[in-house]
């Protein structure tokens, strides 16, 4: 797998290309935080409650953690714990998205009174 070029690069960087995977994950983490801040700071007050429940649904992604972990789990108790975790995660996901959808679909779509805000301003 080590071609001349990557060997050279890795050597140059002092042993490991982009540092430990932990650092790469840290980079991802920080970028995600910026995305979160940027996207959410644009949400109008009106939508705060649906937003709260929408983001709430998104952290139901922990369900994936249960699915990944159960693949390598052994023993009754471990599996049992993870089934509960999966059930919890599912409640979080399914309930969260459904309830958000219910709330949002109640916002009546009427033509906005003011002309659509100018894109360039």
């Amino acid at each position: 797998m080590q071609s001349p070029i990557s060997a050279v690069i890795v050597a140059a960087a002092g042993g490991s290309g982009s540092g430990s995977p932990l650092l790469t994950e840290l980079a991802i983490l920080i970028l995600a935080a910026f995305v979160g801040f940027q996207v959410i700071s644009k949400v109008p007050n009106t939508l705060h409650t649906p937003l709260m429940s929408g983001t709430n649904a998104i952290h139901g992604i922990v369900l994936l953690g249960g699915l990944v972990a159960i693949a390598h789990a052994s023993g009754f108790l471990n599996k049992f714990i993870l089934v509960i975790a999966i059930a919890f995660g599912t409640i979080n996901v399914v309930g969260g998205f459904l309830v958000t959808d219910r709330m949002l679909s109640m916002f009546k779509r009427k033509p906005e009174p003011a002309p659509a805000p100018e894109e360039k301003s």
Binding site: N45, H48, G54, T55, G75, V83, V94, F107
Partner: protein, 471 residues
Amino acid sequence: MTATVFFQEPNFINATYIVAFSLFITGLAKLTSPTTAVQGNKIAAFGMLIAVVATLLNPALDGSDFLLIAIGLAIGTAVGVPAARNVKMTAMPQMVALFNGVGGGAVALIAWAEFRQSHGDLAAELDVGIPLVFAAIIGSISFWGSNIAFGKLQGLISGSPVKIPGGLFVNIALLAAAIGAGVAILLGSTSEGLFILLLVSAAVLGNLAVLPIGGADMPVVISTLNAFTGLSAAAAGIALDNTALIVAGMIVGASGTILTDQMAKAMNRSIGSVLLGGFGGTAPAIEGGASETGGTVRSTSAADVAILMAYARQVVVVPGYGMAVAQAQHAVREMAKELERRNIEVKYAIHPVAGRMPGHMNVLLAEADVPYDQLKEMDDINPEFGRTDVAIVIGANDVTNPDARLKPDSPIYGMPILNVDESKQVIVLKRSMASGFAGIENPLFYDPKTQMLFGDAKASVSEITSELGAL
């Protein structure tokens, strides 16, 4: 079988995760406008679906795993779907608390299972061990804290602050115990007892931290715990090397933090003072005694209110927490229709923290089919009160309190309020002279322009509507 093998490759699964989190971000971005919000939520849900499906392609899953997963998914769906379908709009805060709690619980359980699976050996690889310990502590706090918040809002536990002897000191000790157990594990201990101590300390901390906070402050608490669950999910993602968890968890962590901050700011309080507890519950203590202090109060009847409104050109409805309690939103919509039939202009003045959640009033009124272009935000409606004939305050209190503008020593001084007192006539619908969330007097009720219509908001509004019809 080559196709299956390709789909089961970790690279394919991880590429799918990238698509999934891109959909989350796109969906959230679309939540910024009411016209695209429904679609945004669906996009995010679709992202979740493909993330789950991709994870199930993992070739290491065998038949018995699938059985267990099916059981878990079935239980979760059986609980989650009816709960989400049947919850009343007024019960949204506690529903969100519940969903948030189970998310945190899932993280804590996964961390526990991973600990057991590694036979307690977290010390060997700290970049897995540290996030796992973090996820366990935060997840456990979030689970128990959210449950208490749910209990308080649902009325299962007393909404008023429960004083804990020792208070802050006990909480710090519990946190220290949880962290201490975590550090011991990371330094090489493989004792499961320590891990359980960690989970239990965090659990007790979650309980004790939320119990002393008044029921009315719960939305801020839930929002904080929402951010916590997001962060714990991100930590679990680092431990499990799962990009989807890292990105989605962190986005929620960041957004929950902003939301908490905005809610606290709109209430003119610091997050710290909310979380240290006590404030939200002083209201009941004053309740009943509030009417004794100075000023005269004019009480009126539904018939008089109907006449007053029938001759108005513009009526502004100012809803508050009481409308949610009375579930008067549909009755309010009926009243507005009756007024509009008479060519009277009706607007709704929405204070950002009216009710008990940001956007609480918007959601309730949307449920009652009030078109959202009639809902005016505070900054838009405040200049209007001067030319408003009748402002009808339905179960709102603090958000109309002129002391916030005028009395520098008031606890809510500086909070932006709806300038209801500038309109020509003010009608206040509530059950008594009791104070609202902040537990303070409202001089608006003693204003000569103000008339009180005592009683449950829903009953009072319906009565006004029928009086209007009879005119």
